[in-house]
Symmetry: C2
Subunit: 320 residues, 2 copies
């Protein structure tokens, strides 16, 4: 049996655990609710139960794994292995997760931010295979990025690099959750799409959107996508606008970083037909010829396995 490693991707909704070799071959895989709203202890138990299940599928004890990598949302202190806080994880505050897991399981563990983990995963096993300089961007409730420079994760001063969602692409744009105006996240995230749809319904610009809100009691990005695909002009325009601003951010990233690939993932990509053509057209229009020549734009391939696969890649870098 080859050396086996554990990887966990902990989110606000689900936790996923796999057991795999450094070649990425998965021999155990579990996914279950992370019980984030029940607080820290419940979430730790869910995480451990998920790992146990993946281990028993793989026929190993957790204590027999060669290492464990955990991806969590929000800021992560990778050096100390601490999760300072994350809006998705209720009641978490300076949690020494690495130490807790090492004590509990008797194996070495390491921690990474989830967007960074997904970037590593796509770079090692997904759409970014073979690139040394790569950007992974997740367009979801928020917008985040992981940067691969010279084949390794680039974390900046303390691992907090990659906040492309809070780069400003239009200073006269709408207010963002961070307090600024015109951040990419305030223009192209799922939240931004839902907000613009609510505004359109309020203004009376779209009877279709008003009807959906009436019927469903809410207006999420997915419902707006349904309306757009049924020909609602306001919904189509909202996705096009989100695509245009994403395109500006992509062009800025191309000009500043000249990556070999930009990989796009995240839940909003399920509506890629509605915004990706506009995003790519805008990017190609605005980016400089030279860095554009050496760059490809691609969709993420690993879906919700990107995070765990990235932690396997990270453990491989550590081992190798």
């Amino acid at each position: 049996m080859p050396d086996l490693y554990g990887a966990i991707d902990l989110g606000g909704t689900n936790v996923r655990a796999i057991v795999a070799g450094l070649d990425g071959k998965i021999s155990g895989d579990d996914r279950r609710p992370s019980r984030a709203s029940d607080g820290l202890d419940a979430t730790i138990e869910a995480l451990l139960a998920s790992l146990d299940q993946a281990c028993s599928e793989a026929g190993v004890e957790a204590g027999g794994l060669r290492g464990l990598g955990v991806a969590t949302p929000g800021w992560v202190d990778t050096e100390r292995g601490v999760v300072p806080a994350a809006p998705q994880l209720i009641g978490w505050r300076d949690v020494p997760l690495v130490e807790m897991l090492q004590e509990r399981l008797g194996i070495t563990a390491l921690l990474e931010n989830d967007a960074n983990a997904a970037a590593l995963g796509e770079n090692a096993f997904g759409a970014g295979r073979g690139t040394r300089h790569m950007l992974y961007i997740t367009v979801s409730t928020g917008v985040g990025a992981g940067i691969i420079a010279d084949g390794r994760l680039y974390g900046g001063a303390k691992g907090s690099a990659g906040e492309i969602g809070h780069t400003i692409v239009d200073p006269s744009g709408p207010r963002c959750g961070c307090g600024n105006n015109g951040c990419l996240e305030s223009l192209s995230s799922g939240t931004a799409i839902a907000r613009r749809a609510a505004e359109a319904a309020d203004r009376g610009d779209s009877a279709v959107l008003a009807g959906i809100r009436e019927r469903e009691g809410r207006l999420g990005a997915r419902l707006v996508a349904d309306a757009a695909r049924q020909g609602d002009a306001a919904s189509i325009a909202i996705y096009e606008e989100a695509g245009r601003f994403l395109g500006i951010a992509l062009a800025n990233a191309v000009n500043l970083l000249s990556p070999e690939a930009i990989i796009l993932g995240g839940g909003v990509m399920q509506a890629k037909d509605l915004f990706l053509p506009r995003a790519e057209e805008t990017m190609r229009d605005l980016a400089l010829d030279e860095p554009l020549k050496y760059m490809r734009l691609a969709e993420a391939e690993l879906g919700d396995r990107a995070g765990v696969m990235g932690m396997i890649a990270r453990l491989g870098q550590q081992a190798g």
Copy 2:
């Protein structure tokens, strides 16, 4: 005598050559006109004459140098050692500079873009000493950057990373030389300041600026700075506006890259009293707390020696 290396910084106006050890100690230094308007041959002769002079000051033959590093403006093909073209160097087109110099002098040579060279210089010997992740930004006729990631120059796919001047900070901004609207360069460069001053004079917003243009026959950024320091409200507002947009670009760089330091250089920094406070205030207002906490903003220390000192650092990385 310690091992001596040569470094040359070739610009559209001047060429500078030094002879130095890898510790940065300079034993020969020459600066003269690069004769860029006289074409390729004249510029190569100026470059070689400058190196010869630096060598004779140091008491060595050029052929006795352990290596030679050359910084040139514009795109540079560092792998092949070729200068594809540069607006500042008249008549240059796919010039195999490294090969030419190696044949002529019998020593190994390497090539780097001048903004990247300056970034390396400030990182090794200047205001960025001791940082692993650093951004050097030059605000001059144009705006460019060099990125240091994990202690090494980050060039991206083919060495063309760092074009922060062509990241868009205001999509409704003025037309840039690259064809886009609202690039940083179109808002905060010396050229942008001069253009806005000419517009203010045309509109009759500033009798002072109109008078200067009448008297001097032109309106450069330096003359606008003089007017601002004498209290001309329009000139003060132009520099403040340039500072604000630079601040947005700085915040975007902080959020995306989380560098330990951003070092500002370039000719426009001579008017730093007029725009830097506004730039820093805007950056601190817009950047996220976490990456901001680990970042310092500093002025370049090496002035016009940054490029040659960077090539010495580059030769040191190659040797070491």
